[in-house]
Amino acid sequence: MALYRNGSFVADDPWRILGADEALPAEGPVALPKARFIAERDGLAGRNAPLGVVIEAGEGLDGLEDDIDRLSLVVLTFPKYTDGRNYSTARILRERFGYRGELRATGNVLRDQLRFMLRCGFDALEITHEGTIAALSDGRINLVSLHYQPASRDEAAPPVAGGHPWRRSSAGRL
């Protein structure tokens, strides 16, 4: 497993991603499954450490609307790379709720979809696929760098030269 965040691999991940039954550590940043987070939200309120939540594909944001401002990490899962639901969740978080914390993709995160993820507002990718880790390390990711539609990453960016309002470019970055 490797964590790619804001353009490079990072060695340390301060976050503890807890399961439904794992004991809550006394301190340090923790991320909880959505249902558990909602169930324990009152107890978490007094905690003096960053909070995160893990949202499975299909769970959506319902019930979390009032918590988003105090989240520092949202983990969205991709059980299969063909399950595109959390691309929408990511954009809603970024664009509608103005979420500015870490947005992390996990699960079936593969080289051919990385730019779609980043454009939808993910800034961290948890990657287990060895080929993807190697290709990313070696700079062998070959993806279209021009875009016909604004998305979270560049929603408000000025369009590329020529002035067409929806054109964007990822040239020079993944």
Partner: protein, 553 residues
Amino acid sequence: MYRYDEFDRQFVAERVEEFRDQVARRLSGELTEDEFKPLRLMNGVYLQLHAYMLRIAIPYGTLNSRKLRRLAHIARRYDRGFGHFTTRQNLQFNWIKLEEVPEILKELAEVEMHAIQTSGNCIRNVSADHFAGAAADEIADPRVYAEILRQWSSLHPEFTFLPRKFKIAVVAAEADRAAIQVHDIGLQVKRNEAGETGFAVWVGGGLGRTPMIGRKVRDFLPEAELLSYCEAILRVYNMHGRRDNKYKARLKILVHETGVDEIARDIETEYEDIRARGALTMPQEEIARIRAYFAPPAFAELSARSSAFEAAKADSRSFARFVERNVAPHRVPGYGIVTISLKAIGAPPGDATAEQMELIADLAERYSFDEVRVSHEQNLVLPHVRLDDIPAVHAALAEADLATPNAGLVTDIIACPGLDYCALANARSIPVAQRIAERFADIERQKQIGDLKIKISGCINACGHHHVGHIGILGVDRKGEEFYQITLGGSGDETCSIGEIVGKGFSSEEVVGAVETIVETYLRLREGPQETFLAAFRRLGETPFREALYADA
């Protein structure tokens, strides 16, 4: 016609290289077939019964001579010298080698073409009225909006892994020549009382296993908010469409199971949010920029009556027949819209040889302002031909077996590739179409029968649109034998209806006779030649047809 600028060219070139990399990883074994499948489908590559199939996008069915000649070249060099035009106004090559696909894509890119999103669970090639820009009854050119949608939907980062495929069609006339009500999104360009342009919007239409007619969710969407609204529809679908069963994953099922009122509310909520942020609101200058690409060609000022045309009709019975069925009124006096039937009697529907494509390219260049259209009925169209020139066009077409005067008649049959090519099919389609056409080959008999659309699918995925055929034929497998189920009364136009199954299926030997029985029943019961098959069926219901079909049973 839309022309690429540097941005568009680079976009397509990068997509070719991206796919070349994916193919290389498949060929080296780094990608398994399961991993590769969704990637290749995104670029129109299917693994069929005998070979790979490549489906090339023809946005809203518009071609010019250069593109058509390149398709002919690809047919000759990489396939077996012919191609197959599809009901999505695309072109399929059925005998492709995977390792050659990147080179084919490169050759396509040189003429501003691609295969992006011609398959896969994404927004497919946007289709439009094949008479756009020429039809006497349109209020705008729908291709302007189809092109805007094409660009917006190309490699959309949020909507590339939808529950299932997603189809959009646009018309700009009351007559629906693009079957918009059987699309995931159907758009009709219209004007409101203030004279402003906008869209009526239908959602959740579709054929396949569970055919459904789209539900209207907007009477009038302002023109500037087309993308905001479509993004809202797609988002609701992406988040909530079923993913547990691929046969229940289309938008139509979500609309049906959730209820159109609730879906419409969900769409409006998303839409309000997207519109409020304004990122997709279309500035007038941008619409005008795209519209300029579809500016009418330099039509001459002509008399509405052409003496050369009238003389040719009087002289030649075959020309008169051709005009009667294959020439439609043009909005500019002195011009006509010429339909080139790809349904010669006995030929596979929708197929064209490289030589035929080249001839049509020549004719388009010389006589039709360099434009060719592909219709969803699997024919080609020369949209802007001077009436004076139609005799010469007809003569040239006749030489190449392209002048069959059967547009809209009983032998103008839509058929999917069927079991001759398709890995999904249960039964053959093309031979049934050929045999029906041969049975009704007599043109005088066809004319007597009048407007009649037969549509044939080789399996319940319904690529041949049988549900909206006046007579629909569905191939099924019954204990290893091909059987054909008949539906009656379907229609894909503005009076959209889904055909009703008339009774038990027919064997391959029986099916042509069954069609003939239906036709004879219609001829016997119609109120006169002015009452079309569809009108008669709607008046009579299925009973007399069922009785005639199963009289001996």
